[in-house]
Symmetry: C2
Subunit: 189 residues, 2 copies
DNA sequence: TGACAAGTGGAGACTGTCTCCATATTTTTG
DNA sequence: CAAAAATATGGAGACAGTCTCCACTTGTCA
């Protein structure tokens, strides 16, 4: 899981430049730029880009890794300081809220979830684990049912992410969260 | 909405050949074939393919239009013969069941929902209308809440479609439906 | 049957992806 | 500190799909 590669100085510099430029472009909505151009704009060669990030998705993952990690950590904090079912609710609502203000992350998550390509989906797997933990904890207290797995909730989250650019995104996404939460809280199978 | 084009005989023949071959290939899982090859395999020229179906998605939509229409009609029948909330439940369960046995349709729906490109998404819009009708009817009887719109339910359906090839598809999709139904049935906002 | 409209097909232009390797930079070693 | 070894670079060009264009064929209608 942890990297054991002491990257050469210039290599790290280029890698960082790539990520920085990509972050800037993504935030600007320029997501589907010609891939080679990311390299040009970051001031490195095409080969260098491909060596560091074999695919557009790999680059996106690198760009949003921190953000995703932060999100997972926040969930852990909540789990430590709030009653289980409130932690779950806060997480889901926070998830939608965050997506609402960070389209890039939503797009990335939608893509990563769609292509469940093992190596790259590391980030989404972490998210899945977080959801599973939240559900398990809430189920143990009896606050929610235990016959619906994290996979189901992840599916709904995927649906939410995929709609990041719909005009009624916020309303609909909030609706989904309401359905999921109330559905979960309805005790019996 | 209705076509007003009297298509020439050979044109119709080619169009049908294209759809037939595509249906066959899709059912076989050969979805991402080189687009030009659809033409070659159907025995027509590249230009002809592009004239009839400007994009891969347009072809997919044509292939699954009947299937989608049938699905919508089934919903209408249910609505005419069952209590509103049962119609809704049957439809959602039937939806998952159908997808489970028709990956191609699932893939197509996922794609069409993602690219909300007006012209092509005609099929999904019909689906959205059906869901809206089912919800409205059930809400009027008081069987379900009325503060969550069809858009939210469509989001969850999108999530379901997008996961058509996950190993745990059926379990998770059933879970989503359970959450949605129970979430909807929980009366108060 | 002739004239006109409608449709065809496939060569090749075009566009983006990705590889390859001679060259350059960094790190290690003596 | 210099040479050797290891590591990384960049961008020309091969390649693979997509899609357009138009000289030619087929169908339709009077």
């Amino acid at each position: 899981m942890t990297d054991a590669k002491p990257l050469r100085a210039d290599a790290r510099r280029n890698r960082d430049a790539l990520i920085a430029k990509a972050r800037e472009l993504f935030a600007d909505g320029r997501f589907d730029l010609r891939f080679d151009d990311f390299a040009k704009l970051a001031g490195v060669g095409t080969g260098t880009l491909y060596r560091h990030f074999p695919t557009r998705e790999a680059l996106a993952e690198a760009v949003y890794r921190e953000e995703l990690t932060a999100m997972c950590e926040r969930a852990h904090e909540m789990q430590a300081t709030l009653p289980a079912d409130q932690a779950l609710e806060s997480f889901l609502r926070g998830f939608v809220d965050h997506l609402h203000h960070h389209e890039g992350l939503a797009r990335t998550l939608a893509t990563l979830m769609a292509t469940q390509s093992g190596a790259l989906a590391e980030g989404t797997q972490a998210l899945g684990q977080v959801v599973a933990d939240l559900l398990a904890a809430a189920a143990k207290t009896g606050a929610i049912r235990d016959d619906v797995g994290a996979g189901a909730v992840m599916m709904t989250l995927h649906g939410i992410c995929a709609a990041y650019d719909h005009p009624s995104f916020r309303t609909d996404a909030d609706g989904v969260v309401a359905l999921v939460l109330d559905g979960l809280r309805r005790g019996e199978p």
